[in-house]
Amino acid sequence: MPDLLLELFSEEIPARMQAKAADDLRRLVTDKLVAEGLVYEGAKAFSTPRRLALTVHGIPARQPDLKTERRGPKVGAPDAAVQGFLKATGLKSLDEAKIQRDPKGDFYIGLIEKPGRDAIDVLAEILPVIIRTFPWPKSMRWGARSGKPGSLSWVRPLHAITATFGPETEEPDIVKFEVDGIATGQTTYGHRFMAPDAINVRRFEDYEAKLKAAKVILDPQARKGIIFADAKELTFAQGFELVEDQVLLDEVSGLVEWPVVMMGSFEAEYLAIPEEVIRATIRNNQKCFVVRDAKTGKLTNKFVLTANIEAADGGKVIVSGNERVIRPRLSDAKFFYETDLKTRLEDRLPKFEQIVFHEKLGTQAARIKRIERLAAEIAPLVGADVAKATRAAHLAKADLLTEVVGEFPEVQGLMGKYYALAQGEDASVAAACEEHYKPQGPTDRVPTEPVSVAVALADKLDTLVGFWAIDEKPTGSKDPYALRRAALGVIRLIAENALRLSLMKVAASALAGLSVKPADAAKLASDLLAFFADRLKVQLREQGARHDLVDAVFALGGQDDLLMIVRRVEALGKFLDSDDGKNLLAGTKRASNILSIEEKKDKRTFDGAPDAALYSLDEEKALAKAIGEVKVEASAAVAKEDFAAAMSAMAKLRPPVDAFFDKVRVNDDEAKVRENRLKLLNEIRSATRAVADFSKIEG
């Protein structure tokens, strides 16, 4: 069966867009083929800075024929209806129609045969539409045609389209179409500098091979492989080690068609700059890798660059050129770093009075004061020294005003640590300058040093409470202040450090520090707690744990100790995995269902203690006794925070509950007995509430 080769040859496509564009091209074309009844065998898409390419193999040469039946008018219908039917079906006369009988009478049936079209014609129809409507994140117009409305938009000027179609053994045909004056053909071009001439291609196999001969590696994975292997080998050969960087590798492979890896160096004096700053300078500005000394593990004064050409002089000029660019950059970075060291962190703080954190939440200076106060309050709860936590909160944001962080925002916090150490701060204070931003996401490391934990919690809770107070909560996909991340951070800090604190109390004191006062402080607190519950559920879901149990625990009310909630959810999860748990859940649900039906019927609830005198059956008595015991036992276990024991106590309810439903008819004819039994059912529900609200549990 025939194959399609499609190449869209353009001016340089931004590196960050290439992978998705290749994927979009494959998806859009193959989806459309399938929708047209052309089921293909396989497809693969590629990208380089100057081209998107797609090969789809095993496309049937023709669409299958389509037969449809169309029901027409009744036999003997007026002529107008008959004419309309003939026109719609394309039949010449009624002789060509079948007559079909159904209970309403005899009807004409027209058989419409839509012969399948040649796949190449279908392609000629769908490809230009896909090109015209291609989903680039940003696209542009160019050239003389852009003077007229409706001209093509592409990521950068599109120059040529190769589109061929045909079976392996034959000369393929060109899929003929035109987009904005560019007619399809089978001509592409090699490397911009090393092999710029036109190349005639037939199908994917010779296309890829001819490109390679013309110094273009089509497959981005192959380019990455070359860069990675060459960079490792080059550094290893000199006793060094490449500092691997996947994101940079992705980007660099999108900047070259023919990767040539080389190593350059810079003056060793720049190694006095913190390694992260050297790396940020060389990586962000120059797209080069940094190199470690394999023995010491420290950065060396080398870097690895990836050029796009095999230079006539072996790359000497390119290496020395790159060195000439990196030198002043590092010189700037060193200057920034040394300048920063001349000012103590606390001396930078007055400037924060001029910088607005958020219009409604005041300046950065005000925010820092709030975090200090809150950190001091949290410190004793997390085992941190109050003075150190206060000091750390005081200094933690100061590096935002340094030159280095101004230049490289990604080293915020880290520079704070360096500068704090340099000015002789306690190690825990310096660590907190860096770690109070953590954890940044679900996989980021959670700090364990108590001072860091105190400041991290204070920072995040101040942010959460503040934005809640001014009603700027995340909605849908919008979370501009990263509040979800902050809440998850709080949860992880508490859970992973096994911290005991009342969120409500801490939130209330964060709220007290704010100058804005929300209309309803109590509602704010409960909303915020619900937000934490949601985040906890999301986190549990991502870990593959049961997230519905979070609701079952939160529904108990008054739960604001995250650690206890997490522990309780864990114990509950284990319990519900056991037979006892499953059956008790089923029994409790059954009790709840019956109760809600009967409550509706009687328009009343069945609260209150059942009357022991009205028990007539052993199963009733046994259940009542068990409930009494379990309640005491489970509550005592919960009070000791031994949730596993509470669950074991619950397990004892299972046999009497099962027996009760087995032997006892709840809706007894005698009203008093019925009421009493309903009250007993209510007791089951309330007994289980010692550990969770079972009605919120799924299944």
């Binding site: 931004p14 542009m140 160019w142 003389a144 003077g147 409305p149 500098f193 900047l255 796009n308």
Partner: protein, 311 residues
């Protein structure tokens, strides 16, 4: 590169030879070679030959050197490559020709950058000028890891769609010349290509100016007067725009260029105030917006002139 050039005129030997080589190259491509605009401006893009000529349907190919004033970038002559006054070489071609990239690469060859030994790359860089209400897509052009030019396909200028689209090239002349001459300090550039006593360096020409203007821009520039000048330029711009509508009808405009001069002036005055640090973060945005409004109104007026394509 032209081998017949005398040594002192070769682009790798002299800054002026370097500029002349670029001018000659683009003249060969059919560009009109303009002289710098006689006003202070932050970038070559502000020249009416780019900002205004990019608008409207008429073809336009031009190239020129434009002194660019960035008051904030002054370093009292102490920094090896930061200047408050430097030269940009600007090329604009409307509509953008299909081979603009090739032309650009040839222009590099003309100033001595051989693509057989240098690593030349087009790296994504979307250009936006909030003050001009303009944006475009293109690249920063790298030579051996150094950014040497901006390459932009204008999509919008002064808030108006460009139809057709113009291609714009901006060369940072000092930086390129430093690379070609192999010097690490801008003031060491050989300006006239002579040696010995006859040699004039970039420092001989501009070092004193950098010191004086840095002092002026950061310490002395009269801010009360500048605030006043900003308002005056803004008012004048509006006044000339209003007065320029022929017969008071919004059909033809007769003074788009004089009005736009005032917009350029307002923009430069704002840059000076910014360098003096007297504009707060929140005010900054509103000043930029005020200049943009002027630029938009000038663009609108221009589209109602003959060169702007009005009948």
């Amino acid at each position: 590169m032209d081998a017949s050039l005398p040594a002192h005129m070769r682009p790798e030997r002299s800054f002026q030879g370097f500029i002349l080589a670029l001018q000659r190259f683009w003249a060969e491509q059919g560009c009109v070679i303009l002289q710098p605009y006689d006003m202070e401006m932050g970038a070559g893009t502000f020249h009416p030959a780019t900002t205004l000529r990019a608008l409207g349907p008429k073809p336009w190919n031009a190239a020129y050197v434009q002194p660019s004033r960035r008051p904030k970038d002054g370093r009292y002559g102490e920094n090896p490559n930061r200047l408050q006054h430097y030269y940009q070489f600007q090329v604009i071609m409307k509509p953008s020709p299909p081979n603009l990239q090739e032309l650009y690469l040839k222009s590099l060859a003309a100033i001595g950058i051989d693509s057989a030994v240098h690593d030349i790359r087009f790296v994504e860089d979307d250009w936006e000028s909030p003050t001009l209400g303009a944006w475009g897509l293109g690249w920063e052009c790298w030579c051996d890891g150094m950014e040497v030019s901006q390459f932009t396909y204008f999509q919008q200028v002064a808030g108006f769609e460009c139809a057709p689209v113009a291609g714009e090239l901006t060369y940072g002349l000092e930086r390129l010349a430093m690379y070609v001459q192999g010097v690490d300090r801008v003031y060491d550039l050989n300006f006239n290509g002579r040696e010995g006593d006859a040699k004039v360096t970039y420092g001989d020409v501009f070092l004193q100016a950098e010191r004086e203007y840095s002092k002026h821009n950061f310490e002395v520039a009269d801010t009360a007067m500048l605030f006043e000048q900003f308002k005056m330029a803004e008012t004048a711009c509006r006044k000339y725009l209003d007065a320029g509508w022929k017969d008071g009808k919004r059909e033809a405009h007769l003074m788009a260029l004089p009005a736009y001069d005032q917009c350029i002036k307002a923009s430069h005055v704002f840059n000076l105030l910014d360098a003096r640090g007297v504009i707060s973060v929140t005010e900054r945005q509103s000043y930029i917006l005020r200049v943009r409004e002027l630029a938009k109104a000038c663009g609108d007026a221009w589209l109602h002139t003959e060169a702007g394509g009005a009948a």
